[in-house]
Every structure is written in C-alpha cells, then in structure tokens.
Amino acid sequence: MSIITVEHVARIEGHGTIHVELEGSTVKDVHMEIIEPARFFEPMVVGRRFDEVSLVTSRICGICSPNHAVTSLKAIEDALGIQVSERTKLLRKLLVYGSYLQNHATHLYIFSAPDFLGLPSVFPLAETHPDVLERALKIKKAGNELCTLVGGRPVHPVTAVVGGFTHEPGADELEAFRDRLLALVDDAVVTAQLFDSFDVPEFASSCEMLALADTEEYAVYDGNTAALEAGWNRPVQEYRAFIDEQVVGHSNAKHSTSDGRSFMTGAIARVNLSGKQLMPRAAEALASLSTGAVGKNTFLNNVCQAIELIDACERCAVYCDRLVAEGGTSTPVKYEVRAGFGVGATEAPRGTVYHSYTLDDDGFVLSGDIITPTAQNLGNLDADMRAFAPTVAGLPHDEFILQVEELVRAYDLCLSCSVH
C-alpha cells in the first residue's frame, strides 16, 4: 500500500493536508486533514460585552470578515429584540456583496485559475495573460472598495455596529460606485465565460445542498434555510435542529450533517436554490452555460461564483440607487440591554454562516456558537473525494494529485474559519 500526502495544500485559505491511501491504482482511503490549530472563538467571546462580539468574530476570517461581523450583529440584535432599518439592511447587504466580489475574484483567479492554466500561481499571468490578471485585480479591488465605502476599510468593518452604522457613504460616493459596478458587469460576464470554458470532470456529488432562501430576492441577508433535495424550509433560529456537528479524528475542524447526510453550502447551493432570482445578465449567463444546469457537480462551484459576480455587480448598483433615492437612516436604533438568546445567519461567499449567543442581564456573553461554511462543507468534501479519486486513480501521479486538488479548491475552503 502506498500513501500519498499533499501537505499544506497551496492556494486555499489555511493549512490542510490531503491524505490518499492507494493499493496499486485502487484508492483505499482519501480525506482532508485539517492541521490548522484550533482557535477557540466560541470560548473567547464568553465574558465579552454584546457590543464587542462582532469585533472578535470578525477576526475569524480576513476574507469574509464583513460576513462574520454582520452575522454576529444580527444574532445580538435577535437576542436584544432590535429591529434595524431597511437602510441598515441595504448597507449590510452591500458589505456582504463586497466580500463576494473580493472573495470570488480572489478564489477564481488567484487560487483556481492557475490549475486550469497549468501554472503554480497567478503571478506568471502578468507575463502571459496580463489582461486576465488585470481583470482579476479590477474585480477584487471593486469588492475591497465597496467594503471600504460602507465599512471604512476592506477587512474588519469599522462602521457596522449593533443597531445600525456609525457612518455611511454620501450620495455622490454611492452614485459614483453605482457607475463603477455597472461598468464591471462585462468583466464579470467574461469571467463566467472563462470559467465555463475550462474543462471540468463530469461528476455528481451525492450530497444534499443547503442555503438561505427568501421569497423577496436572491437570499444573502434574510431568509430561511432551505434544503434542495429534502425540500424543507426552516427558520434559521432552528439551525441546531437541522445541522449536526461531529468531531472526526483526522481534522481539527468538525464535520456537519443534516438528516444524517453530508451537504454542500456555497455558491452552487445558492444558484440551485435561488437561481430564478438572479439579476438579468447573471440569469442569462446561467442559462447559457455549456454544461447545462449546474446540478450537483461540485467542480461547477467555480462557475457559480462567477455568475454571482455578475449578479453582485448588477444588484449592488440597484442598492446604491435605492440608498440615494429612498432616504431613511442607518443611525443605530435605541435599545435596552437585557438577557436573551439570539441567532443570526447570512450567506457568506462560501456558504451559510450561523452565529448564536446567550447574553446575561448586563449584555455580557454567557455562551456563543458559530458554524462556518467550511465546517459544514468538509464532511462533504471527504465524501466527494472518496467518490471522485477512484475515477482518476489510473492517471499519472502528478495529474491524479492535481485533479484531487482541483476538487478541493473548487470548494473554496477556508480552513482557518473551519477551526474557529
């Protein structure tokens, strides 16, 4: 028996090792070991005041910090019985979409594209495909600047607080950004075409898919959790009843199941569940994919992210217009501090993220619970690797490893998130 390990898999966020056991060309076992040390965010928020929680949890992830910040604010507001204004929601959605632009562009171009172009990193593109690199950086930069416009900086938003915002952009800034987003739609469309042109293996995951879904719009901020195959739709407040977490020996991150099945969350789950609510150009791109429907080929998570880039540009342009036209205020609403329990969920770039907190009478945290998208996806990644690896085990060693790594990278893992 031979054992192959790929240590510190490159171009993913965090430290993980792929472990494959081969007998001849038969795959005996394959899984992802998460060597990222545990980080203890749940015990760390205990004893912090309710208004410090989003500062702590934002530091779970430097890529999706706006999502962790916003999700924990929602949970705290749920516990304190706070209703935020429509304007606050719009601004928070811009923060969420800023992280989509930033994350998806980074993941697609900097982490994934080198696989398909046969390169070790994105840097050689500067010589060979300067236009591609330029487009990547342009989209990513727009995401950062959208987060900066609303949150004050690209990473770890400053202005988003319990009940609202301490500062918001002016009408002229919002209008200028709207124009920039509209100009970016074409770049996003080209991105979707590029990723659609890359060959991906034909593969169907056996998984369930979970994402937020909302009757109003493509869900990223509001909505219930919906299951694609089981067909249910449940309030996020019940998340502990529909997601089970297990400790597994080979990983510092827990694995999740729903109704006993591993499941996938992220762009592909959202597109499957809410694809009908995409903005026009994004819907057009989805309808014209060479692969037809995305279904459950997890390799197509990349293309789904690209489609979400188009949607994000179109949608945020509308949000900017609404913020200029509709008025209202995002000044933090008044509230009483009291004991309580609250849950918040949003769609981070990599999938649904859940936070919940119990507060004492003075608003200090008694307990906290967080489930990140990657923690939800890891069990399914192992299942997919077990199904996929045998189909490519006959390939030469390097190619075999590359294909398995491609599957891993399609998941857009964030291992440091997973060991929060």
Partner: protein, 247 residues
C-alpha cells in the same frame, strides 16, 4: 539580485495577508523589486532554504510556531511582523483569558487529542527578536509598503510612542468620551490616523499600548466622565490580553 522575501502565517485570520493582496495597483511593481520566494496563501511550492526577509503574520499558539520562528530568525537577516496578532498576540491571545482545557472539551468533547502541541498564545517577539513591526488589525496596506521599503533599504522605522488623542483632535472629531462612549484612543498607540473615531466608532485599541500612555490618568478621565474606570482595562484586553508583551 532582488532580495528574497517569504511570507508566513501563524495563528491568524489571514486578514493581514489579504491586505497584502489588496495592494492591487502596486502588486506588480512590488514583484519587480523583490523575489517573492514563498507565499503559501497565493502560490504552490515550498519554502526555499535561503531568504533575506521573513514577513510574519499571526500569533504564536503552537510549539511548531516556536520552531518555525527560530528557523526564520536564523535564516533571514530581517524579520518583519504584520498585524496585531503578531505584534501583541491580538485576538488569538484572548484565549489566554479562557480555561483552555475546558475550552477543548467544550469544542471537541471530552478526551479529544486536538490539543497537541499547543502553547499559551503570545506575540512573535516573545519568541524571537523582531526588526520591523506593522501594527494594526488589519494592517494598513500603504503602511506595509512603507515599512517594507524601509526594511529593503535597511532604514530604521521606530513605532510612534504616543497615544492617538492628539491626532484625533487634529481631525476635528467630536470626542467620543463626550458623546457617552468609552474610547481607548487615550492609551492606544497612534499611527492609524484615528481611523475608528473618524468614522464615529470608539477606538478599541488594535494598535496596542502606547508606551507613553498613562493608564492611571486614563482611568481617572473615564471616572470623571461617569464611566466605570475598570472598563478601560477590560476593554483594552480585546487586542492586548498579553499586556506585558507590548513593546
């Protein structure tokens, strides 16, 4: 030959490395003057045997981190830390305030072995000497470029020692203490341009303790404004749980 730079992450959220990727406009220029020898976040490949500058993000939380830092110090002529995690222990060092054994069982259930190789979280300079520091959670991209270019030229870059209130005043911000909010700008090292107060939010101390700060006086200021003076210490813990580690 262009100096070879390696970028290494310890316990962190990668936010500071993300901030490096956020120099989009200058990324390519930067790649002209340095040889980016290793950057796990952005490239396949292994750590080279020789390098000149080691850029370190994150707090020290495992024995493996300790070994890695010693190796970096031996090989590199310059060690530069980025971010609060590396500078003060930052948010990861908040774990020092928890009962870690209980925390392990809470997260992983009784009797799990994930605790392997763990040590009390702390800043990089608690293990090795550090030549340049870029504080902040996250770092400011321009400040990073400025410090890196000083490191490349071998120029000194002392961190400012004074607290940020003076800078905040020059921004003509209404003092948050007078608006009923506890602001840690009283004791926090300046250099961010009073970022948070300028956006209406109190400073929470991410740049660490200003060596010239007077904690006692600051407590009295809080008391005189009607706040609980102990809140200064409790809140300052957020990014500075390893207080003596701040240089």
């Amino acid at each position: 030959m262009a100096p070879r730079v390696v970028v290494v992450g310890l316990a962190s959220d990668f936010g500071c490395q993300v901030q490096i990727t956020n120099i989009e406009d200058h990324l390519l220029e930067m790649l002209d003057v340095i040889d980016l020898g290793y950057w796990q976040l952005a490239s396949s490949g292994h750590m080279p045997a020789e390098y000149d500058i080691a850029v370190v993000e994150g707090a020290v939380t495992t024995l493996e981190h300790v070994e890695l830092l010693k190796r970096l110090r031996k090989t590199a002529s310059v060690v530069m830390t980025i971010g609060t995690c590396a500078h003060t222990g930052g948010i990861p060092a908040l774990a020092n305030r928890c009962d870690l054994d209980a925390a392990y069982s809470a997260v992983y259930g009784e009797g799990s072995d994930v605790a392997r190789g763990r040590c009390a979280p702390g800043p990089v300079h608690s293990v090795i000497d550090v030549d340049y520091q870029v504080p902040g959670c996250p770092i400011d991209t321009d400040e990073f470029l400025a410090v890196l270019s000083k490191a490349l030229q071998g120029l000194a870059d002392p961190l400012p020692g004074d607290p940020m209130c003076a800078v905040c005043k020059t921004k003509e911000n209404v003092c948050l203490l007078d608006r009923g909010e506890i602001c840690l700008g009283l004791v926090t090292r300046t250099g961010c341009g009073a970022k948070c107060p300028s956006l209406g939010r109190p400073c929470t101390g991410c740049r660490g303790l200003a060596p010239d700060a007077n904690f006692d006086a600051a407590r009295k200021v809080l008391a005189s404004k009607g706040f609980d003076p102990n809140e200064l210490d409790r809140r300052f813990d957020l990014y500075n749980a390893v207080r003596e580690g701040v240089r």
